[in-house]
Amino acid sequence: MAFYEQHIHPKPTTFLSKYIFSYDHKVIGKQFLWYGILFLFVGGLMALMIRWTLAYPGQPFPVIGSFLFPETGGAVPADTYAMLFTMHGTIMIFYAITPILIGCFGNYCIPLMLGARDMAFPLLNMLSFHLAALSGLILMGSLFTPLGAAAGGWTSYPTLSTLIGSPGMGQTLWSLAIFVLGVSSTMGAVNYITTIITLRAPGMGYFDMPLTIWGLGLTAVLNAIFLPVLGAGVLLLIFDRLFGTTFFLAGAAATTGTGDPVLFQHVFWIFGHPEVYILILPAWGIVSDLLSFFARKPAFGAKATALAMTSITILSTLVYGHHMFTTQMSPLLTQTFMTLTMTISIPSAIFFANWLGTIWKGSIRFHSPMLFSLGVVFVFGLGGLTGLYLGTVTTDLYLHDTYFVVGHFHYTMAASVLLGGFAAIYFWMPKMFGTIMNEFWAKIHFWITMLGLNGVFFAMMLVGYGGMHRRIYNPFIYEFTQKLIPLNTFATWSAIIMGFAQIIFVVNFVYAVFFKKEKASQNPWEVGTLEWTIPSPAPHYNFKEIPVVKCGPHELGNPNLGNGRDFQYQTEELA
């Protein structure tokens, strides 16, 4: 029920209008993809430096160590280490996952799957990317300030992140970069929501949308509502640093009156908890669709899955306090947050059951997108269950700020989202770039990544259970961490293996995008959502004629289908 028909623009001709200042959602999506992959590499390199230091403190980092850190003979110095884990977290969350899952696949898939010619506001879309690019420049620029980049953790708690703990421009530039990125993502969110509401093709009700769109739409809603909260918090932090306000100053820092550092934690986590759902919802949606496509049957309980994702979206706004159990909020508040956190299990379990129901009695093909989707089911199952320990107050009192938390969120955020992102890239490559990635190397990429990923993050959880706390440069000075050294070394080598496996992906990707001669067919995966009704790669106007939707997005395996086909397009009447 599109509110109006978007007209077809003439094809852009100049280099600038085609690749730099493009209004086309497909180009903007690809810009976000390259941007995200670049930062994934930077963040990943930082992770390897962190892991190296944890396994071999004092030893020079291989290859580039002596170039980067001449004063210490190549070993990562302690203050740089703090910058590394801060920037690693910030980059991975805001500059890798957000651009790839939300910036790229949100932009690319939403109009195509809805049967629209572009987003509701193409200019806003373009501005959103350029603001994100500006933000990236500011963030990377902060590395080159005299006192270095922000070093207070990606959570930048005051008073460490105020002038007393972080003198210099690094933390200020970090805060500014986050603010600018928040504006960029909020613009994108408004665009996505408006497009989903107003530009669905005729005949497409909300439950006829693919679950990918549900995931992306719910993410956009959370983004639009909660990014400004982070923006406010970070803005007040900037004011504290630049203008002498006292919002978050206390103790030795508060020479002109006191504020409350814990207030920042409240504000940060009111955003922060929905943020983790923002990061995972697109992957959930994508996996829900891909499991159906490759099992050749409809998504099991698709409506229930959509509603479960919606209820998680709503519940996620109520549980933020479980990040703050050690700050001594009142017992009543603490208990309330614990109980509310537990309720998220119900919808999670429901759509997990639906995932398994989708592959139950299917006819499963194990192409790479499917392998990665099944991988998401595995790692999110594991990661999600480990969240239970952290939502329970008393076990959290032990596990808070240990590597157990790090393992948990890497399983749920890094592993699940990364695998989901890879699934999406492998799946939509034909539509985006007109070729299919090499399937053999894709499978190798999958297996080595799974091996490495489970090695690192499970080892982290074990190490955390052993009590090793996080954000430390040299864990070996404590007695209680001595026996955890082999596990740390194991985690480092798993990380190195996982890191090198990504080279396989990059080569495969670059080859498919730039060099592969064999072009993909219009619908190589043989599925019925609207983007597969148009040529591969998609033409600049998307749809010559706006499609009319007559059935759902997962019409596969219908016994009434004839012609040797086992699927039907959404534009065909239900068989």
Partner: protein, 278 residues
């Protein structure tokens, strides 16, 4: 701090631990730490059960319904009554079986033990004030006058000594940034926040020396903000305290304001609201 450990990669050759010993948490020397361990283990067993189910579905279905083995898929939307029933049962089973169970257990421990402050007027408790700073822990125990922030207080740096078998109440503050007082061998940590006093009580039972660490990022040297916890037998503790009293009474200079970082001790009752004090 043992700087030499910084330079060499440390090998675990002298301990020869089996895998399970390696992954166990540090020795629990506290009265109530085992409650946390028990809850953790209980949650783990439930998690293993449900994860095995998930894996059975994942790997089992992947095997059984491989295209070559199962060419014709079962066409269903999963919205029949039986399907909804099974999904709901699974969801509710997880919630009641795991979530509500562990919530109840945790609540009982949290309200019954960890926020159930000892009554200082009735019980013989040890009171300690802790000031975290970048990058050290300062501990203060009252001297013979039993009043904090007086000349005869025992003020130590990175060196906490308490008796076994007695409840210890900590009041914790930070001077500069947020730190977190972490006792791995007691499974407990509480943030040290500038401008607000936080509290924790623990009973340590086994004499020996143990680690204290800082569990909240507090700057470049957060990683070596370590202290030593010495748990004495009660007699040894009294002996040490008496000696320490004398030493500190002699060296504490009443003119030196830096020593008097302590504060007036207000006992915690279980109903006291922890707000923005100090």
């Amino acid at each position: 701090m043992n700087e030499s450990k910084f330079a060499e990669p440390v090998l675990n050759t002298d301990q020869n631990l089996g895998f399970f010993e390696m992954i166990m948490p540090p020795e629990d020397i506290s009265q109530h730490g085992h409650e946390i361990d028990a809850l953790f283990n209980y949650t783990t067993s439930l998690n293993i059960f449900f994860f095995i189910l998930v894996c059975a579905g994942l790997f089992g279905f992947s095997y059984l319904y491989h295209q070559s083995r199962h060419p014709k898929p079962y066409y269903t939307y999963g919205n029949k009554k039986i399907h909804i029933l099974v999904s709901t049962i699974i969801g509710v089973a997880v919630f009641i079986g795991i979530d509500l169970n562990i919530t109840r257990m945790s609540n009982d421990d949290y309200i019954g033990i960890f926020t159930n402050w000892p009554d200082e007027s009735q019980e013989d408790v040890v009171r300690v004030q802790v000031l975290g700073q970048q990058w050290a822990w300062n501990f203060r125990q009252p001297g013979e006058d039993k009043v904090f922030n007086t000349e005869d207080d025992v003020v130590t740096l990175n060196d906490l000594r308490i008796p076994a078998g007695k409840k210890v109440i900590f009041q914790i503050l930070s001077k500069d940034v947020i730190h977190s007082l972490y006792f791995p061998n007691a499974r407990r940590k509480t943030d040290a926040i500038p401008g607000r006093i936080t509290r924790m009580w623990i009973q340590f039972n086994k004499p020996g020396t143990y680690d204290i660490a800082c569990a909240e990022m507090c700057g470049t040297y957060h990683y070596r903000m370590a202290a030593r916890l010495t748990v004495y037998e009660e007699d040894d503790y009294n002996h040490w305290l008496a000696e320490a009293n004398q030493i500190f009474d002699a060296i504490n200079d009443p003119e030196d304001a830096k020593i008097y970082w302590g504060w007036k001790w207000t006992p915690t009752s279980s109903t006291k609201k922890v707000g923005m004090s100090k």
